[in-house]
């Protein structure tokens, strides 16, 4: 239930009873999503869905900020030196 990946809203419509629905693209798979908890979602927005309901809108600026922060971690390591890189064969090495 907690392994939600972001889906992109590709279509949005309002039902006769007032319910707002959308079709979201999850890595190529289309699913109908209810927007009761996020009625302002628009086509092109990314959302995380649980049990058929969109619960949150993905903020692309925050996503970019997080990836930038991660990159900064590598550039500005504890000693300010070259980033330490764990080699691919790390698993086979003894503990430091």
């Amino acid at each position: 239930m907690c392994l939600g990946i972001p889906g992109r809203i590709v279509r949005r419509w309002v039902q006769d009873d007032g319910a707002i629905l959308a079709e979201a693209d999850f890595a190529g798979e289309l699913r109908t999503v209810r927007l009761n908890y996020l009625p302002d979602l628009q086509v092109g927005d990314f959302t995380i869905v649980h049990a058929g309901f969109a619960l949150t809108k993905l903020d692309p600026d925050e996503a970019a900020r997080t990836t930038a922060l991660m990159r900064d971690v590598g550039l500005l390591g504890p000693e300010g030196d070259e980033p330490l890189v764990v080699p691919a064969d790390w698993i086979d090495r003894p503990a430091p």
């Binding site: 972001p6 949150t56 903020d59 990159r71 971690v73 504890p78 330490l84 890189v85």
Partner: protein
């Protein structure tokens, strides 16, 4: 895939892991709990623990909705499923959880009408298609799934559906964390916070962890770099002597969560005085039941369920696994008596369970030397 691939970049993962290595003090042991079963799954799927220094230990928390359901509640569900004419609906994971005398799947084989649904709305649809039969939805989950149940009940009420009932097993995340922090069994240094519960409740409810218990927490996403980044954030806090709630998953988790969802939940549910958790016993104000306005849809009021407390099977150590006291492979029946095909305990049933994650990703045993 946008917003996914950039959080799975192996080169950046290696850099983050290297920086984590630079943060830890040799001779100090770090014990971090990932609260959510989704994180446990990511950690073993992507081999994150293999990238960590040996003195950084990840322990698994109680955040797996299926895993924390006690046996007595499964028995109550099976009793409801055997009521005359009842159509019993639940999420697929729940079907294989053993009660004291078999699973819901066994009950189905014995003739009970049990149907798997993906959303509570599917259960409501079944109720509308079968107006002459009572339909019970066995609701489980933390604050991520509770809003969908709440809205379904609200809709059933608005539409005047009289044959739709809910057996509510929804739980909240803060009380078990408090119970863990109060427990003498476990000394934790920090928490990887549950990303998707936080989309609903926000970041604020976790502030008690630094303010009252002096532990850092970073609410984290579920991609491998998210988890590594959160570990880096927690270790940085520990190194700098800080202790606060940080939001690694800011792209998805707003500080205040989803106020609309919280509002509907507070209308439909109320807190139970106490609720039993598998392996953790009764925890005060940790479970939800239907509010008085929805009492006519409460399956526990409309039907009599046995409501008997059943002790977990002796061989099963799910309780210790859920509290992070032992690792899955340290359980006596892990991989022998208890496998995903024939589970004894809930942690092996659910795809989010720690035992299933270890088993499915080949972590049958793992001894790590502590420096």
């Amino acid at each position: 895939m946008k917003h996914v691939d950039e959080f799975r970049d192996p080169a950046l993962g290696q850099v983050l892991a290297g920086e984590i290595l630079g943060l830890v003090e040799p001779g100090r042991h770090y014990k971090l709990m990932e609260v959510c079963g989704g994180h446990t799954h990511s950690i073993y799927k992507y081999g994150i623990d293999d990238l960590l220094p040996a003195n950084v230990e990840l322990v698994h928390g109680p955040g797996c909705p299926v895993c924390v359901i006690p046996m007595g509640r499964v028995d109550d569900g099976i009793a409801l499923a055997h009521e005359p004419d009842v159509i019993f609906t639940c999420f697929g994971d729940m079907l294989r959880v053993p009660g004291s005398d078999g699973t819901l799947l066994d009950a189905k084989a014995e003739g009970a009408d049990i149907r798997m649904v993906y959303s509570p709305l599917d259960a409501l649809r079944i109720a509308k298609a079968n107006p002459d039969r009572p339909v019970v939805f066995f609701a489980i989950g933390f604050e991520t799934t509770a809003p969908s149940t709440a809205l379904t009940l609200k809709r059933a009420k608005a539409e005047g559906v009289k044959n739709f009932f809910c057996m509510c097993n929804h739980v909240t995340i803060v009380p078990p964390l408090r119970a863990l922090l109060d427990s003498p069994d476990l000394r934790l240094d920090g928490f990887i916070g549950p990303g998707h519960v936080s989309t609903v409740v926000g970041v604020r409810p976790f502030e008690f962890i630094p303010t009252e218990y002096g532990k850092p927490i970073s609410v984290a996403g579920f991609e491998p770099l998210d988890v590594l980044h959160a570990i880096h954030m927690i270790l940085t806090q520990l190194k700098e002597g800080r202790c606060e709630v940080e939001n690694q998953y800011a792209r998805v988790v707003p500080y205040d969560g989803n106020p609309r969802a919280l509002e509907v939940m507070s209308e439909v549910f109320e807190l139970r005085p106490h609720f039993e958790w598998r392996g953790m016993g009764f925890i005060s104000q940790s479970g939800l039941k239907l509010s008085e306005a929805y009492a006519d849809m409460d399956a526990e009021i409309q039907y009599s369920v046995p409501g008997i407390r059943v002790a977990d099977p002796k061989a099963c150590q799910c309780g210790e696994v859920l509290k992070g006291v032992i690792k899955p492979w340290e359980c006596k029946v892990f991989g022998s008596g208890c496998t995903p095909e024939r589970p004894i305990g809930t942690c092996m049933v659910s795809s989010e369970g720690a035992c299933a994650a270890y088993y499915n990703y080949g972590r049958f045993a793992r001894e790590r030397e502590v420096v």
